[in-house]
């Protein structure tokens, strides 16, 4: 592997590494040419995926983009958009004696009064699992009520759905769903009056499930192009080239630049299972907005597995808690709406860092603040 250039990012950022440096250079030059043709001071595009942001920051991709191309991350971190009252539900269940099993990043995300980690340090039982199956195994191996606090977008929701549809689940297993559904959130961002987003880069592996056809409706309604892209640096650059071409041509359409994983229909078996198990519900995405149909909740027929139906979860006792002054200054939601950068937050890297996160965006490995902190922030161009 050779390098095509060095980003000006400090910290842990790496030299740009591409399997095909010549191709990377060509894509970068093509982007510069396209932005010149557009001739505006800035063109803003948004991606909605934590893994995209990781790759962009890790490989210092912003350093090879033209100055006028503004690539920002939207609400693509499922942990970050999990609302405080949802964390509260898990905390109350844990405090009342259930064993909470959840994905690692969820443990430290602050609720209204405390995080699951805080609850654990006070004696509650909280276990990190990597998959829904491991949560089921936990339930099989103990007497306690095991509640799987299920978070994530379509990609993890289909795994939860597959578990729900298994017929030999232990009786002490239930699910607290905080799963989120991305397309409605893209609509909300597109509708924000201050937004300057002119096109979206959609996440390859979520689209593997949903299919790229899902975005056609969005494109028709909002007149913004969507390009599905993979996760390699070259995939991302190629996706950006296509997206900026569509912007230049004023063409609102969906293009699939990741055909090796994404088809128009997507994985219909997974979709069928997901919609058999879940229905959409409206609700808050932390710090962003009340998103119509942006949450996935278990359908009525699975009430026996639904922690919300099985237990009386009264989170009011946590609500009396007054959030700390620091929490009030967190601008995570504004960042995820595409209206600010982590470096616009006065706490970034000071009062707030991965050791002592103030907001969820600094907790999760998919949160913009944590990614920028780890990979050295935004390049000074």
């Amino acid at each position: 592997m050779t390098s095509v250039g060095t980003s000006k990012i400090s910290g842990q950022a790496k030299e740009l590494k591409f399997r095909d440096p010549a191709q990377a250079r060509a894509l970068s030059a093509r982007l510069a040419g396209l932005c010149d043709e557009i001739g505006r001071e800035s063109v803003q595009v948004m991606h909605v995926c934590g893994s995209h942001e990781q790759a962009i920051a890790r490989y210092g991709l912003r350093a090879v983009l033209p100055k006028t191309l503004d690539l920002i991350m939207g609400p693509g971190c499922p942990v970050c958009v999990t609302d405080m009252p949802e964390v509260d539900e898990a905390v109350v269940l844990a405090v009342d004696g259930a064993l909470i099993a959840t994905y690692g990043d969820m443990v430290r995300v602050p609720g209204t009064a405390k995080s699951l980690a805080d609850a654990a340090s006070e004696g509650a039982r909280v276990e990190v699992v990597y998959s829904a199956s491991q949560a089921v195994e936990l339930a099989r191996s103990c007497e306690a009520e095991v509640v799987f606090f299920a978070t994530g977008f379509e990609t993890t929701a289909v795994a939860t759905a597959a578990i729900v549809l298994q017929d030999d689940l232990p009786p002490n297993f239930s699910i607290l769903s905080a799963h989120k559904y991305v397309p409605p959130a893209m609509e909300i961002v597109a509708r924000i009056p201050e937004t300057r987003v002119e096109g979206f880069l959609a996440a390859g592996h979520a689209a593997t499930i949903t299919g790229w056809g899902l975005f056609e409706d969005f494109v028709d309604r909002y007149g913004l192009p969507v390009v599905v892209a993979g996760f390699e640096p070259l995939d991302i650059l190629a996706g950006l080239v296509r997206l900026v071409e569509l912007i230049r041509d004023g063409q609102a359409k969906v293009e699939n630049m990741y055909p090796r994983c994404v088809t128009r229909e997507g994985n219909t078996v997974a979709q069928d299972q997901m919609w058999r198990v879940f229905r959409t519900a409206s609700g808050m995405w932390r710090g962003i907005a009340d998103i119509p149909n942006g949450n996935l909740r278990l359908r009525e027929e699975f009430a026996h597995l639904d922690a919300r139906a099985r237990f009386d979860i009264d989170t009011r006792r946590l609500r009396a808690h007054v959030p700390s002054k620091l929490t009030e200054r967190c601008i995570c939601g504004t960042i995820m709406s595409g209206l600010a950068l982590p470096t616009d937050c006065e706490l970034f890297g000071k009062e707030c860092d991965p050791e002592n996160p103030v907001g969820a965006c600094m907790v999760s490995s998919e949160g913009t603040c944590k990614i920028w902190h780890q990979y050295g922030g935004h390049p000074e161009l």
Binding site: M1, Q12, K17, R19, C49, G50, S51, H52, Q54, A55, R58, G76, P78, V79, Y103, G104, D105, Y130, S131, A132, S133, Q134, E137, T151, G152, F153, T155, T156, V158, A159, A161, A162, L165, D168, A203, H205, A206, T208, I209, F231, E232, R260, C261, N267, T268, V269, A270, Q273, S365, E366, K370, I371, Q374, Y375
Partner: protein, 97 residues
């Protein structure tokens, strides 16, 4: 939670496949993959489930990113997420089918 990880199928037992990830054998569930999967095929694993059979001609390109990530330092966040995806699969013999 967005990045799946590819591996090669070694054996299929009903809804569970034994899959080789860079020399490590793990069990991956096949409940939601939408194409028949056979030994030799590559699948994309996400939180313990195969979500896609990767077309044979695309495999080399798909693997390159991960090879670089898996060689990265343990403290690297993206690499840690890839390792997390492997933790999501069951060690062999743990399956329930």
């Amino acid at each position: 939670m967005c990045l799946g990880v590819p591996g090669q199928v070694v054996e299929v037992n009903g809804l569970v496949a034994s899959v080789d990830f860079w020399g490590v054998r793990r069990e991956v569930r096949l409940d939601i993959v939408d194409q028949p999967v056979e030994p030799g095929d590559y699948i994309l694993n996400h939180v313990g489930f195969a979500i896609r059979k990767i077309p044979a001609e695309e495999i080399e390109e798909t693997l390159a990113l991960y090879e670089e990530l898996l060689q990265a330092a343990e403290s690297d966040m993206m690499s840690a997420d890839v390792h997390g995806e492997l933790e999501a699969t069951a060690p062999e013999g743990d399956g329930h089918d």
